[in-house]
Symmetry: C2
């Protein structure tokens, strides 16, 4: 099967971006990706938007965004699977190219989270849990993941310190990322003093909403070899779905969708977890990164707490995880997050990550979760 390559990347600053509309955020990332690829906007055959529309005053984003990018009359469409919308957008663009329908496709993850008030945002997020039987009883995202954390602590002896060490690591690397929302280190002591959110979580267990956009430009194998100096290949593309309701899951100490998506992606790319040098995973809460270590096979089930305590997910450890700061420190503009992950891994595989560079990075991975794990998209990326 022919490969699909990434030939350009762009990434704006995540944060409270009251200076820009959502289409302007998209444009920043797109312009940088075009420049990075060394192509013109007329070379783009289609655009795919990853976003959750309902957070914006403007609805039906592809129309406004693509017009602002100057790519009309080419096709455009939006994909939505909650916080994994960006990865779903990459996946449909990857299919379009593999199908021979388009040759060069721009994928833009873009999201403004600050047009609405906090209560409005909490209301919308609650609706991503199952409304009919579950979220009506008050389950919120922190509460869902707090359930997972409590159970993980109970079954495997995972500690509060281990959970918060994820946050310490991600802030450590976030401090080195000029696009991150929080560019400052934190100590374990400081994290432990922060306010309670949903037992056992405190503020530093939780990622923060942010505005932001990121862009990747995908091309067919032939076009990628012609255009890009250092193409990065989307060799493994896994995607799987689990029950919406956590009550219908086999257990609360892992995401079945992540295990299955990883299996598909590894098999397609013909690699295993031991080959992955650098990964961006969905650390919406500290426990989510620990579950990811285990679900992706970086360590055994139940050993995720020790994995971070032993610094195995730092640069120099077994696999460097979220060395761009992750959702925790970089911020989480939900539709943009999946694309942002791919941008970071491309940078790493090209050797362009500066002081955050993982040495000898040849195989990288992204793990993007939607909702409470009902969706998971796993990509395995490789350089030549």
């Amino acid at each position: 099967m022919s490969r699909v390559g990434i030939i350009g990347i762009g990434h704006g600053v995540f944060g409270r971006r009251s200076d820009a509309t959502v289409q302007e955020l998209a444009f920043e990332a797109f312009r940088d990706a075009l420049e990075d690829a060394g192509i013109a906007r007329d070379d783009i055959d289609a655009s795919v938007i990853g976003s959750v529309p309902e957070y914006h005053k403007q609805r039906s984003l592809p129309g406004v965004v693509q017009e602002y990018l100057g790519v009309n009359p080419k096709p455009t469409w939006l994909t939505e699977v909650a916080c994994a919308s960006g990865s779903a957008a990459i996946r449909t663009a990857w299919m379009a190219i593999k199908a021979g329908v388009h040759e060069v496709v721009a994928v833009i993850g873009c999201q403004k989270m600050t047009e609405l008030s906090t209560p409005e945002i909490l209301g919308l997020m609650g609706r991503v849990g199952e409304v009919q039987w579950e979220s009506v009883f008050g389950t919120t995202f922190p509460a869902y993941y707090a359930l997972f954390a409590r159970r993980h602590m109970h079954e495997f002896g995972t500690t509060r310190d281990q959970l918060l060490q994820v946050a310490v690591k991600n802030h450590h690397y976030g401090a080195m990322n000029p696009c991150a929302l929080f560019r400052k280190e934190i100590t374990l002591e400081k994290a432990k003093e922060s306010e309670e959110v949903a037992t056992p979580f405190q503020v530093y267990d939780c990622c923060a909403n942010a505005d932001g956009a990121a862009c990747v430009i995908l091309a067919s194998e032939g076009a990628a070899r012609e255009i890009a100096k250092k193409p990065v290949w989307l060799d493994g593309m896994g995607c799987a779905t689990a029950s919406m309701s956590v009550l219908r899951r086999p257990n609360l100490v892992g995401l079945p969708s992540a295990v299955e998506a990883a299996r598909v992606a590894y098999e397609m790319a013909e690699v295993g977890p031991e080959d992955v040098k650098v990964a961006d995973v969905h650390d919406c809460f500290t426990v989510a990164e620990i579950l990811a270590y285990e679900d992706l096979g970086f360590c055994k089930k139940g050993e995720g707490g020790r994995f971070i305590a032993d610094r195995q997910s730092y640069i120099g450890g077994k696999v460097a995880v979220n060395v761009d700061g992750g959702l925790k420190a970089k911020g989480h503009p939900i539709g943009a997050t999946g694309v942002s992950m791919t941008v970071e891994i491309v940078k790493q595989l090209r050797g362009e990550a500066g002081e955050r560079q993982v040495s000898d990075a040849d195989v990288g991975l992204t793990h993007n979760v939607g909702g409470i794990g009902q969706y998971c998209f796993v990509q395995v990326l490789r350089r030549d």
Copy 2:
């Protein structure tokens, strides 16, 4: 290039469906499509949901819908491009199959429009116009299309009678469609007596919101030939985008996105408008069907009014258009509409449309518009 076939179709009753949740509506259509294809749900490799999420209390629909269908842990994703969301879903499924990523994919267009109040719906619809520069000044969907109608009347002498004759035709055929919202004939006199909406439109110029779902199951050429007695082929798939703002369009008497999408679809299928025997087009307002005749090349620009007056879009005319009742009489559950169009054309090409059957239907077409024409998806379908 290998073809993609449609092997199963399902279609629920459109209307005020307070008897069913959105996932139950989806299930009705999916169950019927599985039965029609003669396959089991385990044979489905992925599902794609066409819907505009924000009309539902439940958000992130793919998770709840696919779980209810029993297709987990397979991939699922949602596509959104306003009223063309269903056709965008079919297009990404078509690409997935052409890419060899999946072999059999279920596409479900599903939408409840009656969970919200009318003012809430009008508010959401207004946001599909450009919010920053245009819809803040009060442009609503009827107002946008009324602009098109006024201009068409001014430039080409199109009459009120001609516009309303579209509604008379679509109610005529809707009366024969057991899935339609309005199953009754109307007279031109009755239409002319209806209340004003936005000059020149009266009530009968406008389609009606409805709840509803439709499903098509797509398969690779090999699988389609194996499974289906009468596969129908998606041979031409056009998609194009125009400016969000109508002020930046070259004129107001056509949709540039429709002209371009049709050009791509005809070229891909190697047919012309003269080959099309039956079409489902996006008659959200009466003038929209007249623009479609012209944009699709069924007649010349400006002659659409005479085309309907001469009954050229009735069965027995040049090309039978919206003989399922169209959006006007069938109802318009926005995310389901594109899939519903494809279901009708498949029925026609299989010769299973009963009293609405177009004789010798071998080539059919769908034309699905999103927003105020910023998106258009055109499919050319063919039987063996």
